[in-house]
């Protein structure tokens, strides 16, 4: 039994989403997919190493952090939308050098 392909697939999907989508919500989804892949990888490695309790606790922490990230991200999205009434990343050019 091998779950690594799934982990990588999730990762790939997340990265693909991050790189190609322009909508901020989609970017959030990409992030989420990444973190879900990471959580899955955590659990699976716990199974492989036979330390499932330990990895579960790590996963719990990861999930909790994840939700904070999402919350802040959404607040940012909201703030950005208030400023530019857009969710398009192309409008976020203030990072331009």
């Amino acid at each position: 039994m091998n779950l690594w392909p799934f982990v990588f697939a999730l990762f790939a999907l997340g990265i693909f989403c991050l790189l190609t989508r322009r909508n901020l919500i989609k970017i959030l989804i990409g992030l989420e997919l990444l973190s879900k892949g990471a959580t899955l990888a955590l659990i699976w490695s716990g199974i492989l190493r036979n330390s499932l309790s330990y990895t579960q606790s790590l996963a719990v922490i990861a999930i909790a952090i994840e939700v904070m990230v999402v919350a802040v991200f959404l607040a940012l999205v909201y703030a950005f939308h208030e400023k530019s009434s857009s969710l398009d990343t192309d409008d976020m050019r203030r990072l331009k050098g």
């Binding site: 039994m1 779950l3 799934f6 697939a9 999730l10 999907l13 693909f16 989403c17 989508r21 909508n23 919500i25 989609k26 959030l28 989804i29 990409g30 989420e32 997919l33 879900k36 959580t39 899955l40 659990i43 699976w44 716990g46 199974i47 036979n50 499932l52 309790s53 330990y54 990895t55 579960q56 606790s57 790590l58 996963a59 719990v60 922490i61 999930i63 909790a64 952090i65 994840e66 939700v67 904070m68 990230v69 999402v70 919350a71 802040v72 959404l74 607040a75 940012l76 999205v77 909201y78 703030a79 939308h81 208030e82 400023k83 009434s85 969710l87």
Partner: protein, 160 residues
């Protein structure tokens, strides 16, 4: 080999989440992904992580995202989600049913995967990972403050 099935579904919904045009639908697909992941966790004998994933990942995040989207889209006064919403809801419902079905059939991988329990995980969490846990609380507080600040600032700037 139910786990492959679950993860296959998971990937399918992940693809949907990425490629669906409608943001609301893709958020709902993401919620499905979360739900499926928590099932997978159950199947992998990690109920604690599974429960967290389900409550937080599928629940809280989805609620937040949907709220934001609806909030923003209401302002934009775009068209209502309509049929797509129903489709998404039904998909989520299907996932939930699937999850319950799985929950009723727990001993699939018992032979290779060690049992864990809530108590054990909690103990580890409190004793071994205390170092993570305390900053985590701080992180949560910081996040709350950050969100408040972001929202408050916008409100103020609107007033001017």
């Amino acid at each position: 080999m139910m786990i492959y099935l679950t993860l296959g579904f998971l990937l399918f919904f992940a693809l949907l989440a990425v490629f669906l045009r409608d943001t609301l639908l893709s958020v709902l697909s993401l919620a499905t992904v979360s739900a499926l992941l928590s099932i997978a966790f159950y199947q992998l004998n990690s109920p604690v992580a599974g429960a967290f994933e389900l409550s937080v990942g599928a629940g809280l995040i989805t609620v937040l995202a949907v709220l934001t989207i609806s909030f923003l889209q209401k302002r934009k006064e775009k068209k209502q989600p309509g049929a797509a919403l129903w489709l998404a809801l039904s998909l989520a419902l299907a996932a939930l049913v699937f999850f319950l079905f799985q929950a009723l059939w727990p001993q699939v991988l018992a032979d290779i995967i060690p049992e864990t329990s809530w108590g054990e995980v909690g103990e580890i969490l409190w004793k071994v990972r205390l170092f993570d846990l305390l900053p985590q609380i701080l992180v949560i507080l910081a996040a709350v403050l950050g969100i408040l600040a972001l929202l408050r600032k916008e409100g103020e700037s609107k007033e001017r």
